[in-house]
């Protein structure tokens, strides 16, 4: 299984070695004038939160030394004075796996503040319904570094979640990550210098639009991973700007995103019912769009539950604007592929597909129309994963089809 992702992994290993000698770190925020007392007020306010409480955090830079948490209370709002005015700095954090952990809190809103330099995840919200994250910035201020925490904005096991006008910078996994959730809108956000800019994983019904994803390793990812309580499907990715996601992969080996090749624009892995349209995608050096199965993602299949469906199906790519990209793919295998097929100055086509299909679903040797990868307005390269990548070929004509448009996600608030 030397796969296209593995190619990225090989290059990634080399990067790790380099990193050990010279971690890319800029200056972190100066805390010499920061407020060190307010944290106790905030902790008490979180403990005392009652249904309907509004916790207002004033402008200022506040040192927080331990993970904050809000648990099992509905209708709480946490509100700052702006994502550049109210700054919770966790640079001196001593305990806690997250900056702010919110559990079992329905009808929860957090807005207008920044969470910086947490040891682990910045903002994790789990087991909650009706969640609004608005104008929140999560950032590791030294820039892209493997030393940064994993996730920036991280709702998981949530229902009805809106993330808008927020900013995520520097996460060593995903800047904005929605996992194992239902009914999701991620719009008008900016994700930069993360390994994954925006990621939807094992989730149902997500709309991702109006976002800017740039300078990440991969811009926008739609994933299904095995061995989770639930799979997901059904995502629309539209009207986004996904460009120059060429930052080296600084993720932790073993995490799913650590295998993502640098220079990936939009990546769908093992997920079904994904509609990708009206995006502006460009100058992502491996490929502007990658469609792949778990088979090419570089994991042992011994540990994969038997009922996991690794095949991305009913993928519809149309109406996007592409510019450049694919000119310098991450990893020697893809680089060799590019040169062999397209010459020294050629580029990987805008849609790179690993070529895996579920043979059990084939009828007379072809996949039924309603399961196919349909692409219009872009060239498709079939990398021939099932054939050991022996016979990669341009397959644009085979994907000239379409699926009915997916319905918009509607939130109840």
């Amino acid at each position: 299984m030397t796969a296209m992702w593995r190619a990225g992994l090989a290059a990634f290993s080399a990067i790790i070695l380099l990193q050990a000698c010279g971690q890319q770190t800029g200056d972190t925020r100066d805390l010499s004038q920061a407020d060190r007392e307010y944290q106790h007020v905030l902790m008490e306010a979180l403990l005392d939160a009652a249904p309907g409480s509004v916790i207002e955090i004033p402008a200022g830079v506040f040192v927080i030394e331990r993970g904050l948490s809000l648990a099992n209370v509905d209708g709480v709002t946490i509100r700052g004075a702006g994502m550049d005015e109210t700054i919770l700095s966790f640079q001196e954090q001593r305990a806690g796996a997250e900056g702010l952990l919110v559990t079992g809190a329905n009808n929860f809103t957090i807005e207008d503040l920044a969470i910086e330099d947490t040891i682990g995840d910045a903002l994790k919200i789990t087991g909650s319904e009706n969640v609004i994250i608005r104008r929140v910035r999560t950032e590791w201020t030294r820039g892209a570094s493997t030393d940064n925490g994993a996730y920036g904005i991280y709702p998981v096991l949530t229902r009805n979640v809106l993330i808008e006008e927020s900013v995520a910078i520097g996460a060593s996994d995903a800047g904005i990550y929605v996992g194992q959730s239902d009914n999701i809108v991620v719009r008008n956000n900016r994700a930069e210098y993360n390994v994954a800019g925006i990621e939807i994983e094992n989730s149902m019904d997500a709309d991702v639009y109006g976002n800017v994803a740039t300078n990440n390793t991969g811009g926008i990812l739609v994933f299904n991973m095995p061995n989770l309580p639930r799979p997901g499907h059904g995502t629309r990715v539209f009207d986004n700007d996904v460009h120059e996601n060429n930052t080296r992969n600084f993720g932790h080996a073993g995490t799913p995103v650590a295998n993502v090749p640098a220079g990936t624009g939009i990546l769908v892995n093992s997920n079904d019912d994904v509609e990708i349209f009206n995006n502006r995608v460009g100058r992502n050096r491996t490929a502007n769009v990658i469609i792949s199965s778990l088979h090419s993602a570089g994991f042992s299949e011994l540990g994969v539950e038997s009922d996991f469906d690794p095949y991305p199906e009913r993928i519809h790519i149309h109406g996007n604007t592409f510019e450049g990209g694919g000119n310098n793919p991450d990893g020697i295998d893809l680089q060799a592929l590019r040169i062999a097929l397209f010459g020294p100055t050629g580029r990987i086509p805008d849609v790179l597909w690993d070529g895996y299909v579920d043979e059990a679903k084939m009828v007379d040797g072809v996949l039924p129309d309603d399961l196919r990868l349909c692409v219009s307005g872009a060239e498709v390269l079939n990398a021939d994963g099932p054939g050991g990548y022996g016979n990669p070929r341009i397959a644009t004509a085979e994907h000239a089809c379409s699926h009915p448009p997916r319905a918009a996600v509607e939130l109840p608030f």
């Binding site: 008490e44 948490s69 952990l101 947490t118 061995n227 080996a253 995490t255 799913p256 994991f299």
Partner: protein, 396 residues
């Protein structure tokens, strides 16, 4: 279950004998107890957060002893959660006239309203300074079945779990430096200690008293109802001998006799976790049983289908088979730095390639497991689980 490492324990008792003035902070001269401060009778506080442990009457400082009130029953667990090598004095009390707790095969017993459970975290003093504490493996050191010897230990905190009409509440108290009084610590606290082992080696120990929401992170074992629950008082953890003031007895048998518990099979037919207090060099069935007991009490309160870590798809309850969902060749999902650059949770036969052991060994807050409750690695626990993984056949 007591005195599993008698020689070591004896050595530490000797080491801890330096009970001189240097073991107290300068600001706290002698053992001054305000006798009026400690309630003499057990009290059920049906609401609110009493300002001091003293208000509960479950425990009481008398001279150099922390004494259990009448009707307050101490208990131990066959295998315990690791908490930075702190020793734990656990007690349970049911109000007069309350129905006994109802038996459950696997879950926490169903305790009546009014039940108060306390857990007091302490270390033997190592001498040479108030912050110097000793690493001790005997889970009941300095406790005689009725009282804790305050001259020999430093008490850090006492956590109260109280069963009220609306459910359980968790209320943490920090012990003051005078070691005679406590204060409510809802937002938690840090306590800087130096831990000294039997060989004289020292480790910096940044002990963390959790805040109330952090209590819930472990004790909400079913995220579906969001209710705090005790974790230890389950049949399998209690089904073993305990040295009471009146002598040794099986805890399930004593609880029934004392009116604390009703129903369920006799001890011989009841679920039972292995007893493990740091023994190394186990093999075969004993190794398997000890590793599973350790993983159960340290991991499974979160890593279950209803717990906080259900997002990971890693299920570590005693009833879960050792397969992909237990971590065998399972790639991580959202581990971040917690992978330690390793690819699978458990690689059979290779603990050094397994994320499991990495997350137990590291003390980085974003990578370590459990996420809460320790700042040090549990060397003996890591060794136990590593040995268990190394004994597995296969690979990934």
């Amino acid at each position: 279950m007591k005195h599993t490492l008698p020689l070591l324990a004896a050595a530490l008792v000797l080491a801890a004998c330096g009970n001189d003035a240097a073991d107290r902070p300068a600001s706290a001269p002698a053992a001054v107890v305000d006798p009026a401060a400690w309630e003499t009778a057990t009290v059920f506080h049906a609401s609110g957060n009493p300002a001091r442990l003293e208000d509960w009457g479950q425990l009481r400082v008398e001279g150099d002893r922390l004494v259990l009130a009448e009707g307050v029953v101490p208990y131990g667990l066959n295998t315990a959660l690791f908490s930075d090598y702190a020793l734990k004095l656990r007690t349970v009390w049911l109000p007069q006239g309350a129905e006994p707790a109802a038996w459950h095969d696997t879950d926490t017993f169903d305790f009546p309203v009014g039940t108060v459970i306390t857990k007091t975290f302490y270390y033997p003093r190592a001498g040479g300074g108030f912050e110097r504490v000793a690493l001790e493996m005997d889970p009941d050191a300095h406790f005689d079945g009725r009282a804790l010897d305050l001259s020999a230990v430093r008490v850090i905190e006492t956590r109260v779990l109280v069963r009220r009409d609306e459910g359980w509440a968790a209320i943490p108290y920090a012990w003051n430096e005078d070691q005679r009084s406590t204060r409510l610590a809802r937002t938690g606290a840090f306590v800087d200690l130096t831990l000294i082992d039997a060989g004289g080696r020292t480790q910096v120990l940044n002990y963390q008293i959790p805040d109330v929401n952090q209590c819930a992170q472990c004790h909400v074992t079913n995220a579906g109802d969001g209710q705090v629950r005790p974790i230890g008082p389950r049949a399998r953890h209690l089904n073993g001998g305990y040295t009471y003031a009146h002598g040794e007895q099986n805890q399930l048998a004593y609880w029934r006799e004392a009116g604390l518990l009703n129903g369920g099979p006799e001890a011989g037919g009841a679920p039972r976790s292995a007893v493990w207090h740091g023994e190394l060099e186990l093999s075969g069935m004993a190794l398997e049983a000890a590793a599973r007991a350790y993983i159960d009490i340290n991991c499974a309160h979160c890593h279950s289908r209803t717990g906080h870590a259900r997002t990971s798809g890693l299920y570590l309850e005693p009833s879960d088979p050792v397969g992909p969902a237990f971590g065998v060749c399972k790639p991580p999902i959202a581990a971040g730095r917690g992978t330690g650059n390793r690819l699978y949770s458990i690689v059979p036969g290779d603990s050094h390639a397994s994320i499991f052991t990495f997350r137990m060994e590291t003390d980085r807050p974003d990578a370590m497991m459990p996420e809460l409750g320790r700042s040090l690695a549990h060397a003996e626990g890591v060794a136990l689980v590593a040995r268990w993984i190394d004994a597995m056949a296969g690979g990934c």
